[in-house]
Amino acid sequence: MTKLLIPSWHKLQTRTLISMTIGFFCISGVLAQTNVTGMVTDSNGLPMPGVTIIEKGTSNGVITGMEGNYSIGGLGEESVLVFRYVGFVLQEIVVGDQRQINVQLEIDSQALDEVVVVGYGTQERREVTGAVASMDGENIRRLSTSNFQESMQGQMAGVNVSSTSGAPGSMPTVTIRGMGSILSTGEANSPLYVVDGIPYQGTPDISPNEIESIDVLKDAASASIYGTRGSNGVILITTKQGRVGELQVEFTSYYAVQNLSESMPLMNTQEQIYNNRLAALNGGGTYVYDYTLDKHNVNVLNNTDWIGEFTRDWAPLQNYNLSLSGGREDLNFNLNANHFRQVGSIINSNFNRTSVRATTTFKKNKFHTTASLNLQQRQSEDVTRNLFDMALRMDPFRGVEDFGADELIGEEGGVRDMDELARAVKNTRNMEVNSLFAAIKMQYEIAPGLSIGANIGGNFDYNSREIFKPTFIFTDPVTGEATTNSNRIAEYERRVQDRFRYTAEFSTNYNRQIGDHEFSILALYSMEQFKQSVVDGSASGFLSNESMVFSNATGTPLLLGDKEDLRITGMLGRVQYDFKNKYLLSASIRRDGSSVFPEENRYGIFPSVSVGYNLHEENFFRDLVSENFLRSFKIRYGYGQTGNSRISSYVYIPTVRANVDYVLGPGDQHLENGVITTDIFNEQDLKWETSIQHNLGFDMEFFRGKFGLTVDLYERQSMDLLFPLDIPGSVGTSFSGNSSIIKNIGDIQNKGIEIGSFFRTQLGQDWDIRLSGTFTKNKNEVLKMGAEDQIIYGGRYTSSDDPVTVIREGYPIGSFFVIPSNGVINTREELLLARTYNSSAQYGDLMYQDSNGDGTLDDNDRVFYDDGSPDWEAGLNINIGYKNFDFMTVLYGVQGTMIFNGAKFQAYGYARHKDYVNMWSPQNPNSEVFAVRRGGSASLNERSWSDYWLEDGDYLRIRNITLGYTLPKNIQNRLGFMDLRVYVSSINPFTFTEYTGYNPDVGGGILNRGVDDIRYPMADEYRFGVQMKF
């Protein structure tokens, strides 16, 4: 109905730009009279707004309106109309004597035309010489995950995403091409995130609705242009940009419920009572008095499901997104507002995120600028870390209390853990992050092909964490007095962190085409600064639990705080060369300087080179292989060096510590100031971690673009790995200083293969089938350690448990090294054997294997098991469209990994695990479950160092099943929509695994990879959503 004609005053510039885009430089002078109208639809017959139609060879052009209609005048019979829309096959039609031309555009399945963001610029897929994986916003939104990282799982070969926690607002771990760094602190292994050209410190939390595309630079040849921070790969996020045309409004929303379906088998009251008594007998003789039961035997009637008590069923999750976009060629904008809200499946946990993002592009003559602004607020309430732990620990015969009240009933010397449980429930922690991101990118073309640019961006975030520990009183029902279990003094803590970072980049770009030679040269200088300051206040004693702010504290508040300042400079040169679209070359060199290293090692140089060969452009190739079979075939090779400098500031500067005080004098003693160095000096010559990577890749498209295959082989060696080594206690810093020291410790290697493929076809008019799959195999090995035969232990369930993983030459990083166990001691021979290494071994104990046969059982008896990283992982996306229905499912699976079952370890430790029902006893001699002992006579059974806790971690998970329905065109029209789709989906509905813990998708840092320290289980989700366009 509405015909959108470009207003005449605007015409000139539009023409110029459009002409340039298509690459025509001569302007036709022909003026004719014909007027043509028509409608543009897609292959489903739906109208397509925003399609550019131009008269070929001229600057005469229009854009289709809302209903896909257009009208273009000034044509002659010989005029050729070009219909163009991103992602669709371009069509050219000779006008002739037609006055109405209706066009159906077909989706362009030739991915090679896709524009790829490669860091400091973009390239067409066909020009890319590195290993770059991409995902467009549409795909991300379709998966509609809570955070964008999750949407990448199984979608891009070589990108591993593990969800470590189901806590609302928690973000998964992303690793690219295996563990490249072994620095387990902070985000050392996480890739560098670059949002709209601005490198991010840490991991951004951007709503998937705000993202236009994600491009991942996997190989070093691509990533090395980010120098010191590129060694773990780079994830480039482009947020939604403005689009030319009439204002378009898009609203999407979903509502979901979450349910914890995974569980840990625990004993019920009957079993628990029996077991507790047996355990006491095993441990020390007589039954240990149990207050809960013996004083109040009515409690045997309880059968409390403590985990259920703290779990919310059908916890809701909601997302709302409104997006406005429109404008003209010289001035357009995108406005996006998003609100996400999640109630956790465990009480006291919530998360919500509100974000507004605006992007404007302005062009005038040779000046081009893009400005974006993002305001975000994240709020969360965290469950106290040990609540889940407490729930595992509590005996089922304990009755549920109303923990909401300030006055609780509890006898003096009564139930031991009730106060801790009350604390876990009542203490709350609120986090709030308010952030502002602003960036402006300017470019000016000085001469044809030569432009200069500046990209300046900053991010400010203000982070607050509040901890409330309200008072509560346990009143003894007999004496009526408060018991020692009470929390008499309320405490309040607030930590405020403000962080500021900015990036300033200045670049010069030169593009030139001479005959068949095309060059592009980039020179760039960048500076970054990251500053943060922390103020940590605490106060105690409040008149009311409801008014816990500093002013109301009866005690004087205490303030602590510190600051950090980190700076990076970078200098980059890059040349890209393209001969006839056939031979491609890209070479770059970057020099980085970072303030985290001592002066001598401050600068690092990172070169890279990569070449590409589009074989299908060769005549001899075409002679051999039909285009119908193999449409394109590209071979790529790249070599590059990258660095890693992710250590905290100041580690090389030794310091002294105050407040190591002592008291002198009699009676009314006085405090003496103590000051001393409590840390060991760090390495003075700390240097970059360097990684060198080779990548060989093949890109192929078969059957006219129906089937595509990308294969990458890579080998990455990371040298001088930075690692926090545990310091032996004998150094004297472990009690009150650092327990680790950062060192460059050795070299590791990752070798792997990545395969990405897609298949698309249409069956008749109604069926549209699209499949895509990824396969990643990565092999990791520690090549060399600084000291010969050095073994670094790590990976613990908690800091006081035995380590279970090691870093050791010749093995994958973080390999499980534990002591083999061999059933339960059941015969006299076994007992005698066990007594040779453990004099206090008993019947029913775990039979350990004295692997090195030295007659003692110690850490030297550990042997290699698998590691926690999968040998391979694979993802499969199936999309089926039938008429107005769409169906999607995403499968993801891993193979060849082990998990330390922390939840089981914990439930055994608390003697709650259901396995104990069947534990060894003289009457049950064939049990494989060792006998639990209580009353203090600990055996070695419950140490975490044995293979008893290791399990196979393979799994296949259906991550998503979605069924959608798009309203038929005529109904949409009647309702006034341009597009209206509703869908239902289920997230993580099925997991096939033999793992008996909560979630086999364990993830974790280097040494903790595969160590399931379950604190917050994952929930599955059932969702209803709607997407509307006006």
Binding site: Y444, F506, Q669, L671, I680, S839, S840
Partner: protein
């Protein structure tokens, strides 16, 4: 064209500003802490450093509550309530190389050694009064000797890593295990330096710092432990004869705040219940931080049920040793007294009607103790306690006091002479006289061994139970009597002093039998902690993988 120039110039200027001083831009100082280069500059730095070294003594597993509890539970005079699992592990000799106190005390002792080594390395170059400097060096020598002594008597039969220097590069942080002889050479040399450098006394402000007497008494104790009787006599007598120390009248003042740094005290570890301004009081101490207090949690944790969790409880054996110790009617202090003053200072029973916090012993929760007993030693039982809500205790832990020295000297003299001498008997009787119990005669001890047995089985436990660095445990250990002690308590029954059930014998026979069964010779020492083995390349040498 004008625009171009403006933009170009602007960009150029910006770029210049940012890049002209890259070196400066990349150099940042740590604004948070004083760097080591700025330290060790003057006498106040030296003093702060030695105070930080003393501060290590307060750490929880050394002289703090955890250490006191676990060492006490290893011996025969106490048993755990079962409140904390780790307490049971020590009582039942089920600890392993990853048990918390085994790991933590190791770390704490080496923390002390690291600090003493820093003082010894840097203070010599600090510009300050020579006299003050020497004293601080003397203190560092004394403390280092003390830490090493505690290490050798606790771990791996005395063979431990031996570190006397401050590592200056990370390559120097790994140390091999050294034989105990080498460690003892350092201990002796440190102590002889300390004896020369340390003053005999301190003014009120500085009470608590080491003295000549601290070093001499420690040296005497080490020689005694090493069964080097002659040397032990020399050093212990030098302390006794120095005239610097005397037994105080009321032994209770050795276990409370009022009696801190009294004439009997030779070395003690300072604690204070005072809470730092603006911080939240807690019942336990918070060390090495600007918050909380320098308190010990012993009083809170050991107090009888009703006042605390009573995690460590007096054993019936202790009740009988102290309650059945015959009072000397001739002694003045026994007027109106049914039990010895020493008993009252150490433990109490419900029937005693002794004051206990703001009530009497009878208010304590007796159902928790098999023998009707509760601690009074090191419990703030005499306080109405303005702090009952938090139970922080500021009572200093006495490491060595004169009574210990007298008893050690008596033991060393008899061993040295092979016979009971009047002097040895007099030393014993000094302690018994002060306690108000009947004095011993030469005729009570037909042999030297009978005198030693009496000291070990009766007098030392009565006087020194739950004191020092596990005095009772180490007495049994050094004398090879642990198994014997365990057998005795497993085979005997002990009286329950609870008023309701007076005269009924009570004990947990099976529990005691389990202790006896579990004890093996390797349990005399703790193993080198697993955390040390796994992080120290000299000590780890894992088996080849075979999967």
């Amino acid at each position: 064209m004008k625009n171009v120039k403006v933009i170009l110039t602007g960009l150029a200027v910006l770029a210049m500003c940012f890049s002209c001083s890259e070196e400066d831009f990349l150099t940042v100082d740590n604004p948070n802490e004083t760097t080591t280069n700025q330290f060790w500059q003057n006498s106040s730095h030296a003093k702060s450093a030695i105070m930080a070294t003393y501060s290590a003594l307060q750490s929880p597993n050394m002289m703090g509550e955890l250490g006191m509890s676990r060492r006490t539970l290893m011996a025969d005079l106490a048993y755990p309530r079962g409140y904390r699992r780790a307490d049971d592990l020590f009582q039942l000799y089920s600890w392993n190389s990853n048990t918390e106190t085994v790991t933590q005390m190791w770390n704490e002792l080496y923390t002390g050694i690291f600090r003493a080594n820093q003082v010894l390395a840097y203070v010599p170059d600090v510009p300050m009064e020579e006299e003050d400097k020497n004293i601080i060096l003397g203190e560092a020598h004394f403390l280092r000797a003390l830490f090493y002594f505690w290490l050798t008597i606790s771990y791996n039969e005395g063979d431990v890593p031996h570190i006397t220097e401050v590592p200056t590069s990370p390559d120097e942080i790994y140390n091999e295990i050294t034989s105990r002889e080498v460690v003892y050479d350092t201990i002796y040399s440190d102590l002889s330096k300390a004896r020369i450098l340390l003053p005999e006394t301190w003014d009120n402000q500085n009470l608590g710092r080491a003295t000549w007497g601290s070093a001499a008494a420690l040296q005497g104790k080490i020689h005694l432990y090493e069964e080097d009787w002659g040397m032990a006599v020399t050093y212990l007598d030098s302390v006794i004869n120095s005239g610097l120390y005397s037994l105080i009248d009321d032994p209770a003042n050795n276990f409370n705040v009022v009696g801190e740094h009294n004439m009997e005290s030779i070395f003690e570890v300072g604690f204070s219940a005072a809470v730092r301004e603006g911080t939240t009081p807690r019942w336990y101490g918070q060390f090495d931080t600007p918050i909380g207090s320098e308190a010990t949690a012993r009083a809170a944790q050991w107090a009888a049920v009703g006042f605390g969790p009573s995690i460590v409880q007096p054993h019936g054996l202790l009740g009988e040793l102290l309650r059945l110790d015959t009072l000397d009617p001739a002694n003045q202090i026994n007027r109106d007294r049914s039990f010895s003053i020493r008993y009252e200072a150490s433990i109490g029973a419900r029937i005693d009607s002794l004051p206990f916090f703001d009530g009497y012993m009878m208010d304590a929760g007796w159902h928790r103790n098999d023998f009707g007993l509760a601690w009074r030693k090191y419990i703030n039982h005499n306080l109405e306690s303005e702090d009952t809500e938090n139970y922080r205790s500021g009572i200093n832990e006495r490491v060595i006091r004169l009574a210990d020295v007298y008893l050690m000297a008596a033991e060393a003299i008899v061993e040295n002479n092979g016979a009971v001498t009047p002097l040895a008997l007099e030393y014993l009787n000094k302690i018994r006289r002060r306690a108000g119990v009947v004095e011993k005669e030469l005729s009570d001890f037909p042999t030297a061994q009978s005198f030693i047995d009496y000291l070990i089985w009766y007098e030392r436990p009565r006087e020194l139970v739950a004191e020092g660095f596990g005095i009772r445990w180490h007495d049994l250990r050094r004398r090879g009597l642990i198994e014997e002690a365990l057998r005795r308590i497993a085979e005997n029954e002990y009286l329950n002093w609870n008023n309701d059930r007076r005269g009924i014998k009570s004990t947990n026979q099976e529990w005691e039998q389990r202790r006896l069964d579990n004890f093996t010779a390797d349990r005399r020492y703790w193993p080198i902690p697993s955390s040390e083995l796994t992080s120290n390349p000299f000590l780890n040498n894992s088996n080849e993988g075979n999967n």
